[in-house]
């Protein structure tokens, strides 16, 4: 690649690069601050997302053991909203600490961090409790310690072991990465890699076989594999179209470099994992932003024959990426749980029997467990296919002959119809229409939500 004009090319970003850490942290705090403030204004719970409430409700129970649930036995729930942003700040600072040590250029570090902050997938994990976010932080911390190359590197054992406790997939990923690092790149003959690998494998096996941790964590929402990856197509999180395009540029420019041998297998693994379970989008997004940053830096550093086109392209890219983020922030403020969800579910907690089984949209299950402290019908992260099919059968049933056996089999006694369900389900037919049957009794209603009881057959 021709790079004689690098200094001139970076003139536009000079100021940004000079005050990079302050700038990045300020930008991050602004984005998270807007979301939290918006939630506060709408009287919504500050913490959003299904996964957050999955951990918070689990932390009230004895099992299973998970780093996040153990942590939230000590941290009060009302302070939980502070945990995700702190985690992200930790990730950014540790990333800045680590990357120069492994030969990343200053510009690539800056743009990777910038895209990390602006990418919807990570904006989302900054306001929700995310295991993979914790996994990333623990890994960055561990690798920083590992590279100390003195006895201090033994301190990396703890974060590595904690990181391999999340789920089997991430633990395997970590084990393979460390094996490649120690035995292919470093050709290490020390005892440390064996101790580290052995401990991590033991934790992984214990977690999978004894504590019955899943291979993949999640999903906590209904998956839409075609669209979940791109936030601009209305997905729950994902990456923006412009970052995706830049990642393609990144792959093309990396093609003749050594690191493509690492990038391509990683990309293949993450895409395959995403197709199995969209919750692993976190890893795929991470790789995409690294490739996008490589692509962006390459575009800036290329010796363009038509400089005005370069300026136009860079401007379009930065505007495009920013628009994706702003557009996502706008949607994020509408994410559940809403104030109505909280209020209604707390009403259910006070006014229904403790053994009641609650039917609602599968995504609401985790809010039901936490706010209503009742058993939901669905738990997507445990038996996704089965629950997906059941939800489909229940909410698209045309006749009571189809619906009632399903409700009876699942011991449904209370039905929570949220605002989102009211908008999504057809009003004059199927499930909402069947609620007019005499076996359903309206217990509680507001303009946005309803609670019904399902009576036993006489």
């Amino acid at each position: 690649m021709n790079k004689p004009n690098v200094k001139i090319n970076y003139l536009h970003f000079h100021h940004l690069l000079r005050y990079k850490k302050i700038g990045l942290c300020a930008l991050f705090l602004l984005l998270v601050g807007i979301t939290l403030f918006s939630n506060y204004l709408h009287q919504k719970p500050l913490l959003i997302g299904e996964e957050s409430y999955y951990y918070l409700s689990l932390s009230q129970q004895d099992l299973p053991y998970h780093p996040l649930t153990l942590l939230f036995r000590f941290i009060p729930d009302r302070l939980a909203f502070l945990f995700p942003p702190l985690l992200t700040i930790g990730i950014i600072l540790l990333f800045y600490q680590l990357m120069p040590k492994i030969g990343f250029s200053e510009k690539k570090i800056f743009f990777t961090a910038l895209f990390f902050i602006l990418t919807p997938a990570f904006i989302f994990t900054s306001v929700t409790l995310s295991s993979y976010s914790l996994f990333l932080l623990l890994n960055l911390l561990a690798v920083n310690l590992l590279l100390l190359e003195t006895k201090k590197k033994y301190f990396s054992l703890l974060p590595f072991i904690l990181a391999s406790w999340i789920d089997t997939f991430s633990a395997l990923l970590l084990l393979v990465s460390l094996a490649v690092y120690f035995f292919v790149f470093k050709k290490s003959k020390e005892r440390f890699p064996l101790v580290l690998g052995g401990s991590m494998a033991a934790v992984m096996m214990l977690n999978a076989l004894v504590l019955k941790s899943p291979f993949f964590l999640g999903p906590f929402t209904i998956q839409h594999k075609a669209a979940d990856m791109i936030s601009d197509l209305g997905s729950y999180s994902g990456v923006g179209v412009f970052v995706m395009l830049l990642a393609i540029v990144g792959i093309v420019t990396c093609w003749q470099k050594k690191n493509i041998l690492l990038m391509l297998p990683a990309l293949a693994i993450f895409i395959a994992a995403y197709l199995f379970n969209t919750y692993t989008l976190f890893f795929l997004s991470l790789l995409i932003i690294v490739l996008a940053a490589a692509g962006f830096v390459d575009l800036v550093e290329q010796n363009w024959k038509l400089p005005f086109l370069r300026n136009a392209v860079l401007l379009l890219l930065l505007l495009g990426i920013s628009f994706s983020s702003v557009s996502y922030l706008d949607r994020l403020s509408e994410y559940s749980p809403t104030a109505t969800d909280q209020k209604t579910l707390e009403w259910i907690q006070r006014n229904t029997p403790e053994d009641a089984v609650i039917l609602s949209a599968p995504e609401n299950s985790y809010y039901i467990s936490y706010f209503a402290q009742r058993k939901p019908v669905f738990s997507l992260h445990q038996h996704y296919q089965q629950d997906y099919q059941l939800a489909n059968d229940i909410f698209t049933a045309f006749y009571i002959d189809e619906l009632f056996p399903l409700l009876e089999q699942n011991k449904v006694s209370i039905i929570y119809v949220s605002e989102e369900m009211k908008q999504a389900l057809p009003p004059g037919q199927e499930f909402l229409f069947l609620l007019q049957n005499e076996r359903f009794k309206l217990l509680y209603f507001t303009e946005e939500a309803e609670v019904w009881s399902f009576e036993e057959a006489k």
């Binding site: 839409h224 075609a226 669209a227 601009d232 197509l233 209305g234 997905s235 179209v241 412009f242 395009l245 540029v249 575009l299 363009w304 024959k305 038509l306 086109l309 370069r310 136009a312 392209v313 379009l316 890219l317 505007l319 495009g320 628009f323 994706s324 557009s327 949607r331």
Partner: protein, 504 residues
């Protein structure tokens, strides 16, 4: 003045005159045109298009690129809109004649072949919807102008010509305008991608300037579409490509590729010649000059086959590319004749070609123009009657095609029209529309009418033909409907509603 300028200028003027004569022979416009006419009228009144349309679907949000409408509004400052709507699309389509000539000349450097290509472009049957005031009429000359400029950029980069910057600036402006005109500009980008791939496979050098122009084009296109269609993208996701068209009629908009229909609409001679040129360029001659055009043919064919662009739009684009490729075919034919014993007959090749083209292209083109699907004057009169004789808040039932007539002439709410994007219940409304024109049961009709607050039912001869109605709507009775307008078109006013029966 040079001879080619005179020839091409002559073809251009001839084509424009013929198009205008045909356009003025038919008083009305194609159904789709009324949507665009309404947008232009609104721009003239307020300076902005109708992005919040209070009448379509009884009030909805619209998403579209507005440049065509602004251009028409600009011309409407000088001339009355109905006149602009007749002249502007035909003037723009006729511009394809000189553009085709320039591209053909660039690719073949053959004067006569390029002039024949320009002649074909002037008489392609698919472009003879002379009464269509539609965006495609601006899109086609713009995309071919962009292709011409790209070919110049490639050539100038190769020769390090100082004119390069001039071409790049012009390309940038034209491509920006193209992005603001139609999302179909994606054809150009996909074509450029295939061109890069073909060039790589055939060992053709791609210059840095070309790569930079491609990158700029991709990012600019995505950015503009993102700005205008953000909401549709978020709401409809990947299905955005199919514009939320109800599944029942999607096959009508994206029919399977039919060679028979293509032969008629593109015309048989350019179609066959184009196929031969593509085959020879790719597999025999490895002619790199045609790579871009061939890539565009591949891109359009693939997109049509995958049902990503509408059949008629893709055929229109495809046919102009084939017209350009005809120049290469003519050049090859001329060379071939010179090598045979009949070389002395070569002077008859041009008149013979023109004669064949007149029969195979000009005649079908005239036929297409005369058989355009437009509302009759009587039907239009019925919709104008609605404006003068019904309350402003009334909702009027008409067919899908006539939806824009309700809003344009009648200035009343319609049940449905063919702009489906951003409509939540397009599928249900379309089913209801079909039921309202086909059901025999009054209760069903009244229930649907009540659901959509329909007050007036318009039954035009076109609607009767479409739904194969012999006389009237089967459920219309004097007790429930007043006939408020009676001509070839009938308008009924609904006067009863579903409710408890008297016995109850």
């Amino acid at each position: 003045m040079k001879k080619p300028v005179l020839v091409v200028g002559g073809i251009f003027v001839g084509v424009l005159m013929l198009r205008l004569i045909l356009a003025f022979m038919i008083p009305e416009f194609t159904y789709e045109s009324y949507f665009h006419l309404r947008q232009v009228e609104h721009i003239l009144e307020t300076g902005l298009p109708f992005y919040q349309d209070p009448l379509s679907y009884g009030g909805r949000e619209l998403a579209f690129l507005p440049l065509f409408h602004y251009l028409a509004a600009l011309f409407s400052l000088l001339l009355p809109l109905p006149l602009v709507a007749k002249i502007l699309p035909n003037l723009l389509t006729a511009l394809l004649v000189p553009i085709t000539y320039l591209i053909s000349k660039k690719v073949t450097e053959h004067e006569t072949g390029s002039s024949v290509a320009a002649f074909i472009a002037g008489f392609l049957p698919i472009l003879y919807y002379t009464n269509g005031f539609v965006v495609n009429t601006l899109f086609l000359p713009l995309i071919f102008a962009a292709i011409y400029l790209y070919l110049n950029i490639e050539e100038s980069a190769k020769k390090s010509d100082p004119k390069l910057m001039k071409y790049i600036y012009t390309y940038t402006v034209i491509f920006f305008i193209l992005c603001l005109t139609s999302p179909l500009a994606a054809i150009m980008l996909i074509g450029l991608g295939i061109y890069a791939l073909l060039s790589f496979m055939e060992g053709k050098k791609i210059y840095r300037e070309e790569v930079e122009v491609m990158l700029f084009s991709v990012f600019l296109y995505v950015w503009v579409q993102f700005l205008f269609f953000k909401k549709s993208l978020l709401q409809e996701g990947i299905s955005f490509v199919w514009q939320n068209i109800p599944s029942i009629i999607i096959a009508q908009y994206f029919p399977k590729f039919s060679i028979g229909v293509a032969l008629v609409l593109v015309s048989i001679i350019p179609f066959l010649a184009g196929a031969i040129v593509v085959y020879r360029s790719l597999f025999q001659l490895k002619n790199q000059k045609s790579f871009l055009l061939i890539s565009l043919v591949i891109a359009t064919s693939a997109l049509t086959w995958l049902r990503l662009i509408r059949f008629r739009q893709s055929l229109a684009f495809f046919s102009v590319v084939l017209a350009i490729l005809f120049a290469a075919f003519y050049q090859d034919l001329e060379r071939y004749f010179l090598k045979t014993k009949f070389s002395h007959t070569q002077k008859y090749l041009l008149p013979f070609t023109v004669l064949v083209l007149i029969f195979s292209t000009v005649m079908p083109a005239l036929n297409t123009a005369l058989l355009q699907d437009v509302p009759s004057t009587e039907e239009v009169a019925a919709f104008i009657w609605i404006k003068d004789n019904t309350p402003p808040s009334a909702t009027v039932l008409a067919t899908l095609d006539e939806g824009h007539l309700v809003t344009y002439y009648g200035k009343r709410n319609n049940l449905i029209d063919d702009r489906f994007m951003l409509v939540d219940d397009a599928e249900t409304r379309f089913q209801s529309l079909t039921s309202l024109f086909t059901t025999k049961f009054r209760t069903e009709a009244l229930e649907l009418a009540a659901q959509y607050n329909i007050d007036y039912f318009v039954l035009t001869p076109s609607a009767k033909e479409k739904y194969q109605l012999k006389k009237e709507l089967p459920y219309v009775t004097r007790r429930c409907f007043d006939t408020v307008y009676q001509n070839e078109t009938t308008i009924f006013k609904l006067k009863c509603q579903l409710g408890p029966t008297e016995n109850e």
